[in-house]
Symmetry: D2
Amino acid sequence: MSGNSIGKRFVVTSFGESHGKCVGVVVDGCPSGLQLDENRVQRDLDRRRPRSGAISTPRKEEDKVEFLSGLMNGRTTGAPITMLMWNRDADSTSYDEFRSKPRPGHADYPALIRYEGNNDYRGGGRFSGRLTAAIVMAGVVAKVYLESKLVEVFAYTLEVGGIRAKLPEIDKIREIAAKNMMCTPDTEAAEEMIRAVTAAREEGDSVGGIVECQASGIPPGVGDPIFDSIDADLAKILFDIPAVKGVEFGSGFEAARLKGSENNDSFTVTEGRITTSTNNAGGVLGGLTYGMPIVVRVAFKPTPSISKKQLTVDLKKMETTELEIKGRHDACIVPRAVPVVEASTAIVLADHMLRLAL
Amino acid sequence: MSGNSIGKRFVVTSFGESHGKCVGVVVDGCPSGLQLDENRVQRDLDRRRPRSGAISTPRKEEDKVEFLSGLMNGRTTGAPITMLMWNRDADSTSYDEFRSKPRPGHADYPALIRYEGNNDYRGGGRFSGRLTAAIVMAGVVAKVYLESKLVEVFAYTLEVGGIRAKLPEIDKIREIAAKNMMCTPDTEAAEEMIRAVTAAREEGDSVGGIVECQASGIPPGVGDPIFDSIDADLAKILFDIPAVKGVEFGSGFEAARLKGSENNDSFTVTEGRITTSTNNAGGVLGGLTYGMPIVVRVAFKPTPSISKKQLTVDLKKMETTELEIKGRHDACIVPRAVPVVEASTAIVLADHMLRLAL
Amino acid sequence: MSGNSIGKRFVVTSFGESHGKCVGVVVDGCPSGLQLDENRVQRDLDRRRPRSGAISTPRKEEDKVEFLSGLMNGRTTGAPITMLMWNRDADSTSYDEFRSKPRPGHADYPALIRYEGNNDYRGGGRFSGRLTAAIVMAGVVAKVYLESKLVEVFAYTLEVGGIRAKLPEIDKIREIAAKNMMCTPDTEAAEEMIRAVTAAREEGDSVGGIVECQASGIPPGVGDPIFDSIDADLAKILFDIPAVKGVEFGSGFEAARLKGSENNDSFTVTEGRITTSTNNAGGVLGGLTYGMPIVVRVAFKPTPSISKKQLTVDLKKMETTELEIKGRHDACIVPRAVPVVEASTAIVLADHMLRLAL
Amino acid sequence: MSGNSIGKRFVVTSFGESHGKCVGVVVDGCPSGLQLDENRVQRDLDRRRPRSGAISTPRKEEDKVEFLSGLMNGRTTGAPITMLMWNRDADSTSYDEFRSKPRPGHADYPALIRYEGNNDYRGGGRFSGRLTAAIVMAGVVAKVYLESKLVEVFAYTLEVGGIRAKLPEIDKIREIAAKNMMCTPDTEAAEEMIRAVTAAREEGDSVGGIVECQASGIPPGVGDPIFDSIDADLAKILFDIPAVKGVEFGSGFEAARLKGSENNDSFTVTEGRITTSTNNAGGVLGGLTYGMPIVVRVAFKPTPSISKKQLTVDLKKMETTELEIKGRHDACIVPRAVPVVEASTAIVLADHMLRLAL
């Protein structure tokens, strides 16, 4: 309880449940005077919506954002900005079973213990991926602020089901990734990924993947070491996204296998600005930005909801039992996670930039 | 500025500098009545000290902990616990150069910008690895509390310079890891690792590695989703350790390549308790513990201080220049990081257990 | 910006504006399993509504509470509880004038500076007394929790327009105060107060007063000295109520004129429990409760909205000008503030009791 | 536990005990580059020291401040600033008695309950007035920052033992108050106050009083409504000072007896700046500053340590008993509280100004 807010200066509070009335968010600390409207938020929310039947859940989610507070005449007022989307009637009956037969890979069991059986379990309640819509909404506010500071944040699918995209030049990444449903900047890889997802789906299985996010335009010196390092705060919000199991910056885990002379980025001068020749540090040194793009990768486990038979425990009888999850589910949530990673990154960057009043 | 505290209920505040008077820490929120003394803290501090000349810096650091507050008659009083170690005279002259010629891979450059040239740069100031001693001190307090709740936390070196340890049975890990200077639970790997470090050292280079940490005995339901998930808070504190570039739980980045049916951990009943047959989730589902051990891996980049010539920028002339870092430095800080990872993990677990008054 | 939340363990976030879509609140950290419904909240919201035309504004506010999240089957789930009341169409035209001619005693001028003219000024925006409805809603959640711990909080009007109520025995206070529109536990004083308010109203003027609040049943030892003392946190939330200019505990300002021997409360034993013979400390010693009722008094200034002519500055011309505030306004908001003081007190007590898991 | 820090941006953490090794403080969030040294802090610490034997405790406290971190070459570095004063050997024997016979008006009893008998009770431990030295130290850092922004904070004794000072012109207040041991800006009143204190002392009794604090030069718009209003945050820190029972701004409790037309401050133009003709609001409207001085009054109860016989409970026998407190104690702590009120006010103002990067 009471962990539903994040940020010190740009404070995001999540509320709502998967099958409750709504999913919403309060953003406190946004500067006044920024242009913002529902269309801007809707655009990102739409990126989070399920893909075509081929790879995704068929639940029809309209997900129309509505502002409840914090705007006047299309501008932020400096007051808390409340946004939500109303849930449509959802069928929660299948979830009754999971209260006594917790789904492997889901939070059903620990949530039951934690909330002593009182938690809203319908559709996964607070633990549903649907809750990431709140992060996306808040992320748009953060991005609007960051844009006013010439900071750009963008994410894309790097890997799905073991297929890794080849990255084009930085300028092409956004353009290409926007054109395929996998949100990946490699058209060929996109097709292979779709095949991998489809194959998993047909087996009643699922696949995971990796999202990469870049943030450019951040001035050097952003971050609050020791304990509010910029990478630490980014990692925290990214691990708050359901299904994330790993986060790395720059050369990441690979750095553990490099030598210092290979991994160090030499400083150099480019058009009168300090830059580095490589970016193995992923934009972060000592918890501070140094003017190069932040590059972070986020590993998503395969969706735990699979239709294949699995073993679990019948909590009433305290014995092992089989479980079959009915209905259709996302065989891969990675492309839908792209705007969530982007939003999460933007929220932390906005928080830290505002702390410095940059 | 003002990011030097962490925790909501067990609050750790770091102070001190590498070449200032001391390195210290205040721990606020420790329950009263726990047995604690300087010997207990010293034991862990000693684990953080430099290794023999073969792989480490020869600076003689005594690192004797002293308690300034919070104890009476060998027990915690419920008041803030302040601990520190006094710095001995250190030679800071070589650091003058780095103010105008920032070391690649270090925080020299962004710190200069952030603090407008006023930061204590001597010995790296607040950005020195020496500051991790404060975390180790606070971690002992956390571990004493956790032990009273039967929670055990232990870390070890998993990989150095590309050499990965084979893990023995869980019970042997501690025992074996305690016997070699690499702190790894694989005696043969330890020797190979030492060879790799020595080789790098002789080339004036350095190597990185991976530390793994396990925490067992944690009851199910610990963590505060959505934004204070237990994995999110662990990742945050771990990325606050200098040189960390990646964090993963359970199957981690590998999960991105598995299918749901492979990665899901089936629930089962063991001696009347709910457990899982595998632990790919690394002890965390939906941001909550579920009774299985937390397993986290932390990737350390190779020490950026190398004696090989490197390129950097002369900030006064704004032109590229060569830099040679004199003196001897750790060619691998991974084994010294083991107690730091352990302490960091313990701090977050203590914070979350205390939130629930478990 | 970003000061719209309060509490560490029971966290209340306010949103909405006087003439925006709604006034609402998110309560994060409420334990799961408590019985709660809209009727319970409505009861307290109704106590905050304007009194009959004699002393109050005629604006017809329905103020129906609606839950958006956090409940299932009439019980709290442990998730954030979101409540709001929708605003009805309000006429904001008269407020245009105050942007250039700030009302004396109101926040018009500093808010204009702070939000650079972007703040929602309609109906006073975030600075309207109407926002206290959010506190009342959150306070009901706090009171439901406190009742489960046998803690009772109740407030009443002590003084209005210089007329001070005589307090009956503690058991009668609630009963009598509930019977008159001044919410004061002295029927005669109530009539005098109404006369005073009516007289002020007829002159186009207003009066202030004092609300007293008592909280009983709190176990000894609640509070987090040094900086989260129970009285400090109560004072903080009480000063957040618009129009509050003073807060005192127990003998309060009078204590400054007493001798130590007069003001000290002797400890004594009553039915096997430690109590004190007097309660000059108002339930707080060293920032901790000691088992006696908390007694706090809150001074409200007279409503600044008066219809008498006043002087202010025309910000465009930067010259002094006359201002006449049209429409009818509360000539005394003290009785309406009673449930707000009660709610505020309950919020802090719930927060502190939950910190101790009592 | 864990309430020993205050502030969001300028964060003050208190540590130490009355008869432990030291009393200290960590200040996190101070901007880099400010001039600061031990003399500057010592000056204010000296103002907090006991007065001559006539009115105060004879304990010889040297109270020499020492910096442990955060400074280099006489300037702040942006790192946490740690300051402390070492305690000299103190005789704690008399405090053993209070563990079973709690002193009326002190925290002995609730602290015993709260910390289950483990709290450091020697000299009052964390509840001793001696701990206010930590606030004074932190306050100097705040004042140095505020001075760089042309904000001035000063406090003085307004009332002692029922004798109220007459205030001279604002410019004379500091000068006169500095010349008498009561720290009051009225020389005659000072003499009367000393007589009152001396008389109380001779009877083995004590007196209380009121400290007033003014802060000028603050720009309009400072404060974070709704819950971090500037007056709310000031009241919080002021109630954290031991013995404070009341806080009021501007006309304060008196406002409850005024009419709106009397209490409202008219805006006017003075030398091109917006000011108000009166300052009944005490510098705060709607939780925001508006450019006029903040005026706050703080009521201190009479020192609870008196040598007169008192009744208390023998906790072992659970029966009423007599208590005689041996040794000499302050018969009036009000003048010593003056720098504490000043420091507390400065800490909150620095925190809020820094939030706005003003």
